[in-house]
């Protein structure tokens, strides 16, 4: 046991002080405990960051049938039905097609064209082969009349059309809806809603096709 000079009194007496080694031991233990705790915390933070963080990961795309409301961020969609139709293309004979109806409500703060909404929609005739709807023959309807705009908070029945190869009569069609995201443009300071082929898929809706008149 060692004592510091100021712990020694006159005539070699020892004042009653806490032995230096005990104090050192305690502080060393505290330091080790603190270092261990911070080390564990740092390890936990690192592992959490490497494995993706605490942000909620989106679930797998919803697999459902018609009639269910789907939130796409900018729009809320309720797929209604699908039927076989015929479309007339410029000067060509009528062609078989599928028309999928959906009730769409604009949740944003300004009007959007029906063609804009169609950017986030695709049909999947084969796995890994999405097809965009025919913009020329797709349109919106309000109270039975055609419209080209989806106004905020006014539901519109959007008719999405996909042309079919000859002699094709599918029993069902799978329609994929992608999530719209809100962010700032890379080149300007404008904030805008965007969707693209790389946007996450929110829902895959399988709709039975009602047979209609053939061309």
């Amino acid at each position: 046991m060692q004592y510091l000079p100021d712990q020694l009194g006159r005539n070699g007496t020892i004042r009653h002080v806490t032995p230096v080694s005990h104090a050192e031991d305690r502080s060393r233990r505290r330091l080790l405990a603190a270092a261990g705790a911070f080390g564990l915390l740092g390890l936990a933070v690192g592992v959490t960051a490497v494995t993706g963080g605490l942000r909620h990961e989106p679930d797998a795309p919803l697999q459902a049938g018609p009639g269910r409301a789907i939130d796409l961020g900018l729009f809320r969609v309720v797929p209604l039905d699908a039927r076989m139709t015929a479309i007339q293309q410029f000067g060509a004979p009528p062609k078989s097609a599928i028309t999928v109806r959906a009730r769409v409500t604009n949740l944003g703060d300004k009007s959007r064209a029906v063609a804009e909404f169609l950017n986030g929609v695709a049909a999947v005739p084969k796995p890994g082969l999405p097809a965009n709807p025919d913009v020329l023959h797709s349109n919106g309807q309000i109270s039975g009349d055609d419209t080209s705009e989806i106004h905020p908070r006014i539901p519109v029945d959007v008719r999405m059309v996909w042309s079919l190869p000859k002699n094709t009569t599918p029993r069902a069609i799978t329609v994929v809806f992608r999530k719209w995201s809100y962010g700032q443009s890379f080149t300007t300071d404008v904030f805008e809603w965007t969707v693209g082929d790389g946007s996450p898929v929110i829902a895959q809706i399988s709709i039975p096709v009602r047979q209609g008149p053939r061309p």
Binding site: L54, I142, S143, D146, H151, P155, D189, F191
Partner: protein
């Protein structure tokens, strides 16, 4: 006391770590609007001029249905909301101008473009310098958005950065909007002016 301090430290430190991690994901919504059109404000019934054109909104009508005349006969356009028809006169100040980007701005920050219905095409012929000509715009909005609606119109340019724009207060306060919504006509015929 020491135990309490340690417990408090044990709670505060992870909380501060979590707060620091959350800050890295925060993106402030900073919209400079430095390229937005240059807006001139006015009121219904008064001439409002900007550096490109002048307009005077003469009348605002509200309807629950619009009568459309067509080759196959007359047809009524219906809406779950209301149609708002804005009549105005406009002229250019220096060169031929077409009006565009017309919209109704409503309370709550919602903006409604022209109706988009096939039978409600707006009348917006190009405007000559110093010659007043009538124009008409048709909008479709929910009934609860009529009060406080403002009409906004600018130049018809694909990119409207720093272009001229005019905002008109239509005088649709809560009382007037309620009166207009009591019995809006269901077979309204669009007028030329």
């Amino acid at each position: 006391m020491r135990l309490l301090a340690r417990a408090l430290t044990g709670v505060c430190v992870p909380a501060l770590f979590a707060l620091a991690m959350w800050f890295t994901s925060v993106k402030p919504h900073l919209d400079g609007k430095v390229q937005n059109p240059l807006v001139t404000k006015g009121r219904i019934g008064a001439v409002t001029s900007n550096h490109v054109f002048s307009i005077k909104v003469t009348r605002v009508d509200v309807a629950s249905g619009i009568l459309r005349h067509g080759a196959g006969g007359d047809r009524r356009l219906r809406t779950p909301g209301v149609f708002v028809i804005v009549y105005l006169e406009a002229r250019s100040d220096t060169k031929v101008v077409s009006l565009g980007h017309a919209r109704l701005a409503t309370r709550g920050g919602l903006s409604y473009a022209e109706s988009g219905r096939s039978g409600t095409i707006s009348l917006t012929a190009p405007f000559e310098p110093m010659l007043w000509r009538p124009a008409r715009f048709v909008f479709e909005i929910p009934r609860n958005r009529l009060a406080g609606a403002r009409f906004i119109v600018g130049e018809e340019k694909p990119i409207d950065d720093l272009s001229a724009e005019t905002q008109i207060d239509l005088g649709l306060d809560a009382a007037r909007a309620a009166r207009l919504l009591v019995h809006p006509p269901a077979d309204y015929a669009l007028k030329q002016s």
